[in-house]
């Protein structure tokens, strides 16, 4: 069971930028340009058939990369779980995962809504929660919690 991660790293050699483990949870940081192929490899060859969660993470203004897109993957046969993080900067796009896990559709829309990260090849990249004319992307760190005054 323990060595599936080594196999994954061997298969994705060159695109794994960083790895970490905390509280028995394994995280791999992948090169953005390897997507969506690397995710497809994880699904087809390593059995990560379930995308549990997909979300954005803002590291703050001036950081490189500015954002991460975080994928929580699960192999429902072996119960293995893996976290994949992909760095992305302002103005850069991430290839969509909709073709691999259909459930990515709404989650990518949510990331776009909240962080303004665009997904290349997404079938319908519109805001998920907020109205279309909403100014800005609220989960960015510089966005004030109390919001902006709409009257002005």
């Amino acid at each position: 069971m323990g060595d599936w991660l080594d196999e994954v790293k061997g298969r994705l050699e060159g695109v794994v930028l960083d790895e970490s483990e905390f509280r028995d949870e394994k995280t791999l940081v992948l090169d953005r340009s390897s997507l969506p192929n690397s995710l497809e490899v994880l699904k087809e060859e390593f059995g990560f058939n379930s995308l549990v969660d997909l979300c954005g993470l803002d590291m703050g203004e001036g950081q490189t990369p500015r954002f991460y897109v975080v994928y929580h993957l699960r192999n429902m046969n072996t119960k293995a779980q893996l976290r994949i993080k992909v760095g992305v900067n302002e103005g850069e796009k991430v290839p969509t995962a909709c073709g691999i896990w259909a459930g990515a559709n709404w989650m990518e829309r949510e990331v776009y809504d909240m962080f303004g990260i665009e997904f290349d090849g997404h079938p319908c990249l519109t805001r998920l929660y907020l109205p279309e004319d909403f100014p800005g992307h609220p989960l960015r760190k510089e966005y004030p919690t109390e919001g902006y005054d709409f009257e002005e």
Partner: protein, 399 residues
């Protein structure tokens, strides 16, 4: 002489269902594309109840976030507090004492029964069986009385806190809960007598809203939506938490993935939850209700305000209120089997007393995404049955 067209043109038209519609269980809007009465496409439009929970959480200490969390699924509050506290405890690396674990399991399963009772009542009423609604709300009232006994309020209890539970179970709670569990099987039988073999009920649910095993997994459907499609998957069994591995219970699954199978799955889940609570009550250990490590718990009020004040307790209380506690740097994901499916929390900590990022993986949101698949090809009238079988709560969709 007028020429009449020989072949009628096939036209589709768009119909808005909601945001204010009795069968959408809140403020959900579904844009229906219809051909006559047949649904060609159904796209949910959500966000009417968006409260920005994830953004708000970043401005509050870990304890202050707890009351925000039970406002997500306001029909199963204890389960949501439970999941969040488990996540923070995983981040801190602490274990809660056995009694607290046991109390949490009892409340989480009680929440499952309460949530399923509301689902059954409203689902049956949407389809036209109003009597069932009155019956389930009779029993649901007892579950709320029980929760009120524990926490002092009917909803949004925030009784489960980081490190344990807020206070011990009150006198008379165990007896009242046992009395409720004694009558529950006969009540579930009563609902089943009204529905399970009812011809109209079967006509409205069998073969309606079919979700295949493959689609359920691909779309991230969880809970009864996944199990109704025949996948034996329950977080309580697969990644046990809070001592679930010590309880003896079955995971009911469906066969056809239709509305009727999901109905049967949820009915059986109520019986299994009762089994779990009974086992928990039998073994309910004595002992502390809160982890002592990490100084997470507020000191005894007597020591802070009473005659024999203790300076150390006062400082401890002050630090917890003003500053909060400091978890280590790191990121964790922790999920539980909530009544509606997998509820997960992804917390990124930068070592400060406030979460750097709190991501909530909501079961209703992911389950709702399957709506277009479930409804395609059905009639408009089936939409009420299909929204009902999803068992969504809009607070749990809109975050």
């Amino acid at each position: 002489m007028r020429v009449v067209a020989e072949t009628a043109e096939r036209k589709t038209f768009t119909l808005n269902m909601g945001p204010q519609h009795p069968s959408t269980h809140g403020v959900l809007r579904v844009v229906l594309t219809l051909e006559g009465e047949t649904i060609v496409d159904a796209q949910p439009v959500i966000g009417y109840l968006h409260r920005g929970t994830e953004k708000l959480a970043e401005t509050k200490t870990y304890q202050q976030v707890i009351p925000l969390i039970d406002r997500l699924d306001y029909l199963a509050c204890p389960a949501y507090n439970f999941a969040y506290c488990l996540a923070v405890e995983k981040l801190l690396g602490i274990e809660v004492p056995p009694r607290a674990k046991c109390i949490r399991v009892i409340l989480a399963e009680l929440a499952r029964i309460a949530s399923h009772l509301i689902w059954l009542g409203s689902h049956a009423m949407d389809i036209g069986a109003v009597t069932v609604f009155l019956y389930t709300f009779r029993e649901r009232e007892i579950t709320y009385e029980l929760l009120e006994m524990v926490a002092g309020v009917r909803m949004h209890q925030s009784y489960i806190v980081v490190g344990g539970v807020r206070w011990d179970l009150p006198d008379g709670f165990v007896e009242k809960l046992r009395a409720f569990l004694d009558i529950l099987p006969s009540k579930i039988q009563e609902y089943e007598d009204l529905l399970t073999k009812n011809k109209i009920w079967k006509l409205r649910t069998v073969g309606v809203g079919v979700l295949s095993k493959e689609d359920a997994i691909a779309y991230g459907a969880t809970g009864p939506m996944l199990r109704g499609s025949g996948v034996k998957w329950d977080i309580r069994k697969v990644y046990p938490y809070s001592g679930y591995e010590e309880y003896d219970f079955e995971i009911p699954i469906g066969e056809h993935g239709d509305t009727y199978d999901r109905y049967l799955v949820r009915m059986e889940e109520m019986r299994q939850s009762r089994r779990i609570i009974l086992q928990a009550l039998d073994k309910l250990p004595e002992g502390p209700i809160h982890a002592l490590e990490g100084k997470l718990f507020f000191p005894d009020p007597e020591k802070v305000r009473g005659e024999h004040r203790d300076m150390a307790a006062l400082i401890h209380q002050f630090k917890l209120v003003v500053e909060g506690f400091h978890p280590p740097k790191g990121e964790i994901y922790q999920s539980i089997e909530a009544p509606k499916g997998e509820l997960g929390f992804y917390i990124v900590s930068d070592g400060s007393p406030k979460p750097y990022r709190l991501r909530i993986r909501l079961p209703s949101l992911m389950n709702l995404q399957t709506l277009p698949i479930l409804s395609r090809g059905h009639k408009v009238a089936d939409m009420a049955a299909i929204i009902g079988t999803l068992d969504i709560v809009l607070g749990d969709v809109d975050k």
